[in-house]
């Protein structure tokens, strides 16, 4: 047992924290992350939790590496069960290489044969320190030892975390961490040799979640109005903006329902605000009439749609990429829209501010498609840059005789704001003439449809092409979109084949058909990887460009892709038909 840790595969270390809701997993995670980041390691955490407030069994997976990681792995090097049931919850993922560190008394019975247990009586040590609540800090101390880190230089992180609490609490926590560390330090327990380098760069990077990246992006995009109705996993963006609302002068309104939310946001844009809504599938369903309204009014609009598995209530706290076609075709009638789906935190930030800018510029709704996995995952990422943010506001003052829907070759009529000038700004959900008044004239109708659709073409000026990640050739092309990127990239790295490239779409609509066909024409074998059951993006690609796939890897069990598992699947796909 004592040397099993030292045998770990050196590329990275994977820790799984497991416990009931409300039992302090977050505390352990947070402290570890602060300490590891300041040590210069690359980090990733992903969350998996049940739809409940207390109890149940949740887990957080932490990966530590010398190079960027941003996907979970199915391998567990160190399991930390904070509660009874924690080991059973993940027992199928344990191997003889896993070390379980926990209380023998509470989880001993759950340990499968052949799996090592490092018995550290967290709660007993905590109780000795003064209170059972310190057991999370005890665990942190023990983990620091196991990871080969020093205690003293890192204690200040613990102090900072508890700052604001009474001095005594801070003191006891520091003590608890020390005792946790000491509980192993004297025992001859082998410590992990992290054989990958830490890097001073990482210390200067950001460490944040998808929800935070998108929220910061919204702020950079000038968002000053958010009306939404809480819905997992989209609420994080609402509460982030609420937390920083007074700092940035944002109107934050929790609407009575999603219908009110989207109609408010459209009203706000009309009056000159930069408004967004954040929601998930069921709420988006209720917003589709409003989405169609934005299309007709030619109103800019930003919708953050954080997906979770459906249909209906589905799995409220799990992940899926199942609402792509709904995002694309939701809303009655035909009108242009743009859909972004970030694959990295940096894209989360960039696409969120671009969403405001292109929505405003082309007067179309823009949907940012994320999912629970993306929202809840954290990792280190280079500091977001504000230089390339488009700070222009695309509305104009008006003069008498102003017509909101003036015909224009590119489909874009100057957008006035009521009260800003002598013109009248008249917008209408019926088909309308250039002034915004109801018309039923069939010629005007055709012109207006063409005008609206023309904007989609015009928006290709700001098109974001798919990114190709290639180490050698694109003989095999793995195609993915949105949050699947991280697992796919890592899976291909794991395979270590230089004939296999990754093509990732962060703008999923509109597409550049010629470009897609060009990429496909170079590949012998194409494989689609999506987090849904029917291959939605594959169908869209085929419908828009005609391209076909040789293989499809689809996942729809509520969990995110794990890079190692995905590597195996890609590998067997590549073997097929050989």
């Amino acid at each position: 047992m004592s040397n099993s840790i030292a045998d770990k595969k050196p590329g990275d270390v994977s820790i799984l924290l497991c416990g009931q809701a409300g039992q302090g997993i977050q505390t352990v995670e947070h402290l570890l992350m602060r300490i590891l980041k300041s040590s210069g390691y690359c980090l990733f955490t992903g969350k998996e939790y049940m739809s409940r407030v207390r109890g149940g069994m949740n887990s957080t997976s932490i990966r530590i590496s010398g190079s960027p990681v941003s996907a979970p792995s199915n391998r567990i090097d160190i399991l930390v069960p904070l509660d009874k049931g924690g080991v059973s919850h993940v027992s199928c993922m344990l191997t003889s290489n896993t070390v379980v560190i926990g209380e023998k008394d509470s989880c001993g019975g759950e340990i499968p044969n052949g799996v090592a247990l490092l018995d550290v009586p967290f709660s007993k040590i905590a109780a000795e320190t003064g209170n059972k609540v310190y057991s999370n800090t005890v665990a942190v101390g023990a983990l620091l030892f196991l990871l080969g880190l020093e205690l003293e230089p890192n204690l200040h992180h613990i102090g900072e975390f508890f700052s604001g609490k009474p001095d005594d609490v801070v003191k006891k926590n520091l003590e608890a961490a020390g005792k946790g560390y000491a509980s192993l330090a004297g025992t001859g327990t082998a410590r992990l040799q992290m054989e990958f380098k830490s890097s001073p760069d990482v210390k200067e990077q950001l460490l944040l979640s998808g929800a935070e990246a998108v929220s910061l992006g919204a702020l950079a995009g000038g968002c000053n109005f958010i009306s939404s109705y809480p819905m997992s996993p989209s609420t994080g963006v609402l509460s982030f903006l609420a937390q920083h609302g007074s700092e940035f002068g944002i109107v934050v309104e929790q609407a009575e329902d999603e219908i009110a939310a989207i109609n408010m946001a459209i009203g706000a844009w009309y009056a000159g605000a930069r408004a967004m809504v954040t929601t998930s599938g069921g709420g988006f369903a209720l917003m589709t009439e409003g989405l169609s309204l934005a299309g007709m009014l030619e109103s800019p609009l930003v919708i953050h749609l954080a997906q979770r598995p459906g249909p209906a209530t589905g799995l409220p706290t799990r992940t899926e990429q199942g609402d792509l076609e709904f995002a694309l075709y939701g809303g009655h009638g035909e009108f242009p829209r743009i859909i972004f789906a970030p694959g990295t935190l940096e894209e989360g930030f960039t696409l969120a501010h671009r969403a405001f800018s292109v929505a405003d510029k082309y007067q179309v709704p823009v949907i940012i498609l994320t999912d629970q996995f993306f929202m809840d995952s954290c990792c280190n990422t280079p500091v977001f840059k504000l230089d390339d943010v488009d700070r222009e506001k695309h509305f104009t003052g008006t003069s008498a005789g102003y017509r909101r829907y003036e015909m224009a070759a590119n489909g874009i009529s100057p957008r006035g704001i009521p009260g800003l000038g002598d013109g009248l700004v008249c917008v209408d959900s019926d088909e309308h003439d250039q002034e915004g008044h109801i018309t039923e004239n069939s010629v005007m109708r055709t012109m207006m449809v063409d005008k609206r659709l023309k904007k989609l073409e015009s928006s290709m000026d700001d098109f974001i092409p798919p990114r190709l990640f290639e180490t050698g050739s694109s003989n095999n092309l793995i195609v993915c979109w949105g949050s699947a990127l991280s697992a796919v990239r890592e899976a291909v790295e794991i395979l270590g084949r230089d004939d296999t490239a990754v093509l990732h779409f962060s703008q999923v609509f509109p597409l550049d058909a010629a470009l897609v066909r060009e990429h496909f024409s170079k590949a012998e074998k194409t494989i689609l990887v999506e987090g849904n059951a029917t291959g939605q993006f594959g169908r869209i690609l085929k419908g828009c460009t005609g391209v076909d796939f040789h293989g499809r890897i689809l996942r729809y069990n509520g969990l995110s892709f794990a890079s190692d598992e995905l590597a195996a699947k890609i590998n067997s796909c590549l073997q097929e038909g050989k």
Binding site: L216, L219, G272, G419
Partner: protein, 284 residues
């Protein structure tokens, strides 16, 4: 002629409809109050009543059926210097839009909510509306309406709306007085206006309203919510006038500025990129 008049080739309302009266009275009231077309926004939903912005020289937002109040609230919140009126039919405001009616009242935005109450769905050709009276027969309610009619006055009072009134467009002068009070009220003001529909409501005609209404007199205390409720649930004759007024509550716009710290109007706000940079760096 007043500043809200526009040249019209064609109005989609039936000749003699009560909607014309509301259009005229509203234009006149706004004119008298010195409001400028460029500084106000008329927000409406969908229905016969909701076509009113097309006959009005002003900024307008003619949105979705049932959804006038959310954009109206947002427009006022984004730019409180605008006069904002949300106007639609009874089906639009109390049927499809019922949830917004309730929660907008809770917000108390500084908007005037005018509801053309003809007790029927006009545009879709004569189905019952929430305010249709028991026994009213339509192509859908073939045996007559049997749902309890929606009482907007009583519900608004239950929600402690800050201004609650009812008018009858058969009396344009007094309707104008009521509109004026509503427009001058600081928070949310409801004016439910009886507006006979010639074509699809042969029961609740001008004559019927004349016979079934009376004006609240000076003995009515507009600051007494319980008394207002008692008046609101009368059914023999339906009272007209201002039922209730409460000037003590803050508006939504005031609250978002004071409690929420938003700086209005939003269109002239600029993002503080310095602050944003600091915020980003906090995640280091």
């Amino acid at each position: 002629m007043n500043r809200f008049d526009m040249e019209l080739s064609d109005i989609a309302w039936c000749p003699g409809c009560g909607n014309y009266g509301i259009l005229n009275v509203l234009k006149k009231t706004l004119d008298e109050l010195g409001i400028q077309p460029e500084k106000m926004v008329l927000v409406s939903g969908i229905g016969q009543a909701a076509k009113i912005p097309h006959y009005f020289r002003t900024n307008f937002f003619n949105g979705l059926h049932g959804r006038a109040l959310p954009p109206a609230t947002a427009i006022k919140a984004s730019n409180p210097s605008l006069t904002v009126i949300a106007e639609s039919g009874d089906g639009d405001m109390y049927g499809e839009g019922g949830n917004h009616f309730i929660h907008t009242i809770r917000r108390n935005p500084g908007i005037t909510n005018i509801v053309h109450n003809n007790m029927v769905y006009g545009l879709t050709k004569g189905q019952a509306s929430p305010t249709s009276q028991a026994g009213f027969k339509t192509p859908i309610q073939v045996g007559g309406v049997f749902l309890e009619p929606f009482n907007p006055i009583a519900v608004a009072l239950a929600l402690d709306a800050t201004f609650v009134a009812r008018a009858f467009i058969g009396d344009q002068d007094r309707t104008r007085e009521i509109f004026k009070k509503a427009l001058m009220h600081k928070g949310y003001a409801l004016v439910d206006v009886f507006q006979p529909c010639f074509t699809f409501n042969k029961i609740n005609t001008f004559q019927w309203f004349r016979e079934h209404t009376y004006y609240l007199d000076d003995t009515h205390d507009v600051h007494n919510r319980n008394q207002a409720f008692q008046k609101a649930v009368e059914t023999d004759k339906l009272p007209l006038g201002v039922f209730y007024e409460n000037t003590g509550r803050k508006t939504f716009e005031e609250n978002i500025q004071e409690t929420g710290k938003a700086v209005l109007p939003l269109h002239s706000q600029e993002t503080d990129y310095g602050k944003l940079k600091d915020l980003i760096l906090k995640f280091k």
